[in-house]
Symmetry: C2
Subunit: 295 residues, 2 copies
């Protein structure tokens, strides 16, 4: 086995090098493509071009890129070919590649997902994935072991950014706390063995930027988890309210924006879509840095 | 749009025609392959052969086949090629094809999953999928609409078959009930518009056969949901305790067995693995029919 450093340590290193805590979301939704890509007849080719051009535009202002698996799976095998190339390109460019696939299953199935995504040389090798928590710790535990062995990471969906979190995540438990607090505790416990030199664990958490009030308590429950925070931009999350996700060094969080970056051209008339994406990612980087400097 | 009948109605029709409420799980885990497939050097080819031969062995004693996505994704695009062929073969043979992929995400992402799996002509078209509930109803709702349009179905993971359901699913809510009761209510509500002539909804539920005590109450909470019940066989679920999942016609449930069927050869010395699988599926069919006749 080759030596591999802890995922959280690699993420911290990347953040410090780029002075960016921005994670650009790559959701190649053809309905939102700029005109020049919407005109491409071959939708798979347009998807491929979208991702490569987006990464090339934002590559040095972003810490990470998050790829939404659904927009590749919709093309079946041909879509996964593109996903594999996007993931490889991101990692070759030094970006931290996160596959947003929200997998969650029983133990022996999770080991197969490890082979798909976080084993060196895997067909869809990525630095980290997102995972769903409902199955419980015996799904997360074998994935954790594999992540630790290979210097990979994951982010458990603790509190998502969408409106309907009231349905399950915010249901109150007997002790009066919401269910997502229990999920936070489970995430912290399962990831305890993955803490790196940075003090952070390779097991992180998805915490919606649309619920800033939830962050303070989640930070207490998960002191060692990196927070991947989607929901700024199109979904309405306000960067200036995310301060409590970060520690005094400015570490501990990634602010994720998908449509807000890739589709910024829609609000910048006459600007090339790649230039607009770059500007939007750069502005998001500055907005995060303005609230919380990196030391 | 072509006319398509309700998924639950199609499932009921298949059950009545085959006199079987057995769902055979196709988990092509190479670690468990019979010697003749374990010897095949090309692991993708072995996976393909495993699925085709399993279906051909159990095709007329099973109502449905459930394919575990992880064991295909581990091969990347080449694995999805095989999955597409397995799904097509199952559907051509008249089997109900269920893709066990436990997807769960926000609305606009769920619409992309619809395009991948439940839209006619989709690259990985299946009759139904499994879905994860943690995101809440605004992930399930758009998927439901698409399923209804195309005569497709889904099964929400309400109570899974693994040991760690205590971590999230069984946590007690303020009213003293477990969280999975809330998920059951959400599943019933979201699937209300998908009820067919059989009285069942195209929106079903995954209910682990390993927790028979939970079934009575879940049936009350989800009177219109078909229960997909994994966990008999290798995981220890006892068929004789599943009676309350079914209505007086013997409808409302599918008993799912993966390793118990595909790997039955391990306990039947000298018997060809396909013949052993067929025998095991047939015995499971008889065991279900013995408890609860089909009228």
């Amino acid at each position: 086995m080759t030596h591999t450093s802890n995922f959280a340590d690699r993420l911290v290193e990347r953040i410090l090098r780029t002075k960016s805590r921005v994670c650009v979301g790559c959701d190649p939704d053809p309905a939102l493509f700029p005109p020049e890509l919407a005109e491409v007849e071959d939708a798979v080719a347009a998807t491929a071009a979208f991702g490569f051009e987006l990464m090339s535009a934002v590559g040095d202002v972003a810490a990470a890129v998050k790829f939404q698996a659904a927009f590749y799976e919709r093309f079946g095998p041909a879509g996964l070919e593109v996903l594999a190339r996007h993931l490889a390109a991101a990692r070759e460019a030094g970006l931290i590649a996160i596959l947003d696939c929200k997998r969650g299953d029983v133990g022996h199935t999770m080991r197969a997902y490890c082979e798909a995504y976080i084993t060196p040389g895997a067909p869809l090798e990525t630095d980290a994935v997102t995972l769903a928590p409902y199955i419980g710790a015996d799904g997360l535990a074998p994935f954790s072991v594999c992540a630790g062995e290979h210097g990979k990471g994951y982010f458990v969906v603790v509190k998502s950014s969408n409106p309907s979190t009231a349905d399950v995540q915010d249901v109150l438990m007997e002790d009066g706390r919401p269910v997502h607090h229990r999920v936070a505790e489970m995430t912290a416990a399962v990831g305890r063995h993955l803490v790196g030199q940075s003090g952070y664990s390779a097991a992180g958490a998805v915490v919606g930027a649309t619920y800033p009030d939830a962050i303070t308590r989640l930070r207490e429950l998960m002191p060692q988890q990196f927070f991947l925070m989607p929901g700024v931009g199109a979904q309405g999350g306000d960067v200036s309210l995310l301060g409590r996700a970060f520690d005094t060094r400015g570490l501990g969080g990634l602010v994720a924006s998908s449509r807000g970056v890739a589709f910024a051209w829609r609000e910048r008339e006459g600007v090339d879509w790649r230039e607009a994406a770059r500007e939007a990612a750069h502005e998001l980087r500055l907005a995060v840095n303005a609230i919380l400097p990196l030391w």
